[in-house]
């Protein structure tokens, strides 16, 4: 299962962390003692500051580790349950049906009733993803699925199975990217000769691993929302799917920046092994670039669609800056070698330059290697130098199809989709060659920051944000925690933003409170009373999906938008 596999990556990271130990024993502490006036004092201040950070990091790590293991356990349980559910899927397909080994046509698809169509779509998705089947059988499933998907689109009826599959496609791609970067960072963490030979530089590696663990964590959350959306259905299901998409997008943006950042760290790891450049210089370069990376990453943690899109818009500049810094660092090394002219080092530097050439591809903005390959002319702008020239943009057709589908069902905005594509280096010209919605193609032509983006950005920054309200009352947090609203399903994730800016609330003359306030004053009491009453009749606790399903209905009846944003996000 998807969640399980990427969580294994997170698990690996944690294990890696445990094995590597990261004790504070370092070989070159004396480097810092070089009498270098102001520069040294600055580095020492940075070090002192670092130490504070490190303590809090250790705590964060411990928490993160516990959380990751809990997630792993939960996922295992869920996978076991799902395994049973999945086994039942094929039974629902009518006997004698030829979808397994024959290509079906449009005419056949048209004869299916709506629910048969949906069932068959779910069945074929399941079949297409079954690793134990023949490649040929899976191809048949893929092509039959395409016929049924076209039929579903023709009927204009939403297909929950296709919607969820599109989100899963985004998650899968991000999981592959996470795996790739884990493999990059693993040897760096395992060796004490490179970045880890000094606490100053080791810190950068810790930071990158921590961010990657965040990506894995976020992907797990995204997967959990998809699962819950499956059992909840309805508008609440759609809202949960939108939450899943926001998180999946956040991980894509994070990976787009972590990828070149990891390459930059790889280079520094090698440079750290050569006694050519001073530690303090290397620290300053890393520190400056890490700030840029953090600016982008910090905007993602709120999981606000607006700030994710805003962060996404900043990625190309940030990658370009990293590419420049990469080339500069390489030039510094060569220059230092020229001055010092030590024969032995000349060989080492030559090795380093060869190694670096292989890293340049990491600065091309692309996802995991898949079907669709574009040359990358788009980024050959100022300041990018050799790094850009080496790369190409690769986007899978599956990913493009997923984005298209999510735009169509409204789970991702057109502007958001344009940013998601742009962050992969897809330009308007490339997009024309695909079957993306015209609106997305149009937006791609408009440069990285459209007006719409600026507006969401300002809102996201809190300047014009409407108040957010807990749908599940905060004062009864314990009640919801007992029913499974913890972690990814914490009630803080289920808040709504009401359009109260022009709200000239006047009490309409009735004998209850709704119209008086930005938020229905009696909502909290009402929701809790209703849930208690329901449970007492039912004689058991409700599940997360049951509560969401019921609360969605209550929201709709009051015109409260079923669109969740994280509390305190943005």
């Amino acid at each position: 299962m998807l969640n399980r596999s990427h969580l294994n990556i997170a698990g690996q990271l944690v294990i890696l962390w445990r094995v590597a130990g990261f004790e504070k024993t370092h070989r070159h502490d004396k480097d810092l003692a070089a009498p270098n006036g102001e520069a040294e004092r600055r580095a020492r201040r940075a070090l002192a500051h670092d130490a504070d950070d490190r303590d809090s990091d250790v705590r964060t790590y411990a928490q993160q580790e516990v959380r990751l293991w809990q997630l792993l356990d939960r996922e295992r349980e869920k996978a076991a349950e799902r395994g049973a559910a999945d086994a039942g899927t094929p039974a629902r397909i009518p006997a004698g049906c030829a979808v397994d080994n024959q290509s079906i046509g449009e005419a056949f698809a048209r004869t299916l009733a709506d629910d048969e169509l949906e069932q068959m779509i779910a069945y074929l998705i399941h079949r297409r993803d079954r690793a134990d089947l023949d490649a040929l059988d899976r191809e048949v499933a893929t092509s039959n699925l395409a016929v049924l998907a076209a039929e579903s689109a023709r009927r204009g009826r939403p297909s929950g199975a296709l919607d969820r599959d599109a989100v899963r496609a985004l998650i899968r791609e991000a999981a592959l990217g996470t795996k790739e970067l884990t493999a990059v960072l693993q040897p760096l963490a395992a060796s004490r000769d490179g970045l880890r030979n000094h606490p100053l530089t080791e810190h950068f590696l810790e930071h990158a691993i921590e961010r990657l663990a965040w990506v894995a964590d976020t992907l797990a959350a995204s997967g959990s929302y998809v699962e819950l959306a499956t059992s909840t259905g309805g508008q609440a299901g759609a809202a949960l799917l939108a939450m899943a998409v926001t998180r999946a997008q956040a991980t894509h943006v994070a990976l787009a920046i972590l990828r070149p950042w990891s390459a930059f760290l790889q280079l520094h790891d090698r440079v750290a092994m050569l006694p050519l450049l001073q530690l303090e210089h290397r620290f300053r370069v890393l520190d400056a670039e890490q700030r840029g990376v953090n600016v982008v990453l910090a905007q993602l943690t709120a999981f606000d669609p607006g700030s994710v899109a805003a962060a996404s818009a900043e990625v190309p500049d940030c990658v370009a800056a990293l590419a420049t810094a990469f080339e500069t660092m390489l030039a510094d090394v060569e220059h230092a070698e020229e001055i010092q002219r030590w024969v032995l080092r000349a060989q080492l530097v030559a090795d380093l330059v060869t190694f670096a050439a292989g890293l340049r591809g990491m600065f091309a903005m692309r996802g995991p290697p898949s079907a669709m390959t574009f040359p990358m002319p788009a980024l050959a702008g100022a300041g990018l130098g050799g790094a850009a020239a080496m790369g190409q943009v690769v986007v899978s057709t599956e990913w493009i199809a997923a984005i298209r589908h999510l735009v169509e069902i409204g789970a991702i905005s057109v502007a958001g989709a344009a940013e998601a594509l742009r962050v992969r280096g897809v330009t308007a010209a490339m997009a024309q060659a695909t079957d993306l919605p015209q609106a997305v193609k149009d937006l791609l032509g408009e440069g990285p920051t459209t007006d719409a983006m600026k507006v969401t950005n300002a809102t996201g920054a809190g300047t014009a944000r409407s108040p957010r309200h807990h749908v599940l009352p905060q004062e009864h947090r314990a009640f919801f925690e007992q029913r499974g609203f913890t972690g990814d399903f914490d009630i803080d994730h289920f808040t709504v933003e009401l359009d109260t800016a022009h709200h000239q609330a006047q009490h309409g003359g009735g004998n209850w409170q709704m119209g008086r306030k930005e938020w229905p004053g009696e909502w909290n009491r009402f929701v809790m009373d209703a849930l208690w009453e329901l449970e007492s009749q039912l004689g058991r606790r409700m599940t997360v999906a049951e509560i969401m399903h019921r609360v969605e209905r209550l929201m709709k009846q009051r015109f409260i938008p079923v669109r969740f944003v994280p509390y305190g996000g943005g």
Partner: protein, 166 residues
Amino acid sequence: MSFAKAWSGDWHGRILERVHQHGFETVTQYASERPGVSLLVLAEELGPDDIAAVQIRSLLVEEAIRTRTLPRALRDLFVRELRDSLPEGWKYPLDDASRCEVAGALATWKTELKVEDHLDCFDDESTFKAGQDLLNAELPDGWLPDGPDDPVIVSFVDRCLGRVPS
């Protein structure tokens, strides 16, 4: 924009105006023409972006209090809630998901009237018992009440109001 639109201005007046446009004097008359239809559907019909379902309920209750027809109005509302929650109809014995739907219809119905319309007509203890009996009722497959005069509903609501000894 719907939330702000629906809850600003004189929404009572707005609903009455739309009802008049449909050729009815009162909201009760309008709703009676469509027994068992969900209030969400009626709200969608009267004002897709500025009338909320619960507002219609609130007016129905007000009118019923004025005309002293509250029990009938309560039955009417419960029928709409139940049909909306269990569209496929009864299937004895109710499975877990259906039990949750029926209990949800009951809980929403009672709590809305109690908390939002400030009605104190419910007898909590008999409502609980009546609810338990309803959940276990051996009703014909596909059963759904047509309107407020369905005998199952009449007896159920009477018990909730404490009018019949449980």
